[in-house]
Subunit: 219 residues, 2 copies
């Protein structure tokens, strides 16, 4: 009885479905650690506040998963989702700008289920340079290209002032050849089409919270 | 010529539309600072990678905005979106667990356009207690309820180990009466229906990035 049949989607998959795949993977990883073998779509649906048909719809973009009337094999579905998301390898991150947030990131270093690891970091501040955090030694800003190339950085994590962000992004793209940037700065970074940027802004989460607080209560 | 006519939406507004309203507001605030008076839907669309009809659709949940064939008045649309999102006031945040990330948050303290401000913080670590960061003095963990009530905290920001997160959330809800929680921990916090939780997890942004990197290149 073969459960899985993942394939490249023929249509563009909505970003929201991709985000839910991440959440399904988190829930599946937790279940796997607990030794659970089978899971229903409604359990996965609970993991991100949707319903079972939505789970089946999200997965349907990538082929046929699961056993009708029974559910999904936890280990196999996790394996397939990781493959879909590109998380069947460890991604090498380079941090630009350490500061307090960067220090927190480097101390944690291994994220999710070891799917991400910082392999290099640099900072402008002479007080940060040569500091050791975990296995990473902070390099001077001017050595970024050399250090990031040597460490084979694949994704740049920008955590510097928005005034410098574009310049650093250009260097990362041209000098290091990264194709992915995680941007913690407030800058609206422009980049060529082959490069992808994700902006991380927790104030957007706060905005969502405030809308729900406001729209659910008399003003 | 009256441009605006915002009203309570008769239907549930999709979460993604709310997120886009935040992004429109950011773009509008930038334009306002630059002294721009009018904006087209396509400029707003650019701010979050959608198209003009999507912008009009997002706004249509809340009434009629804009002047046909001309665009939107920047200041007025910003005012209305802020009202919709509940950002026409400053929200009072209380931080539980300082650490490196919390220190970064407290140093920044005022977020977005002063729509959020930390008014209290507490920590378990005796080394953190009594430390002053900006205008905030870190309180001991055991004094959280007293300190947060005194500071009139409306939203709790949880930045502690996932093992303690649920206990802290319960205290925030029952002892302080907060109705909104921003959760930086990995815990899957359960709460009563009148309380809203937003989980902040930048690894989800990394997952999205990796999917785009993986699906756009030969493997």
């Amino acid at each position: 009885m073969k459960q899985m049949k993942s394939s490249k989607p023929p249509v563009a998959v909505p970003a929201i479905s991709i985000s839910r795949l991440s959440l399904y993977a988190r829930r599946l990883a937790t279940l796997e650690r607990k030794g659970v073998e089978m899971v229903t779509s409604s359990v996965l649906a609970d993991a991100c506040g949707v319903n079972s048909p939505q789970v089946r719809n999200d997965l349907s973009y990538f082929g046929g998963f699961g056993v009708k009337g029974v559910g999904y094999y936890v280990g196999e579905l996790l394996f397939e989702i990781r493959k879909i998301l590109g998380l069947d390898k460890q991604w090498r991150l380079g941090l630009i700008g350490v500061g307090d947030l960067g220090t927190a990131l480097l101390k944690q270093n291994q994220f999710a289920n070891d799917e991400y690891a910082f392999v290099a970091a640099c900072d402008k501040d002479p007080k940060q340079v040569s500091r050791q955090i975990g296995e990473i030694t902070i390099e001077p800003f001017d050595s970024m290209e050399r250090a990031f190339n040597a460490a084979k950085v694949e994704i740049g994590v920008i955590n510097i002032s928005h005034r410098l962000a574009q310049k650093v992004a250009d260097k990362l793209i041209k000098g290091v050849g990264v194709r992915g940037i995680l941007n913690f700065s407030a800058a609206d970074i422009q980049c060529p089409k082959h490069v992808f940027i994700e902006n991380v802004d927790f104030t957007l989460s706060l905005d969502k919270l405030c809308y729900r607080l406001t729209s659910s209560s008399p003003r």
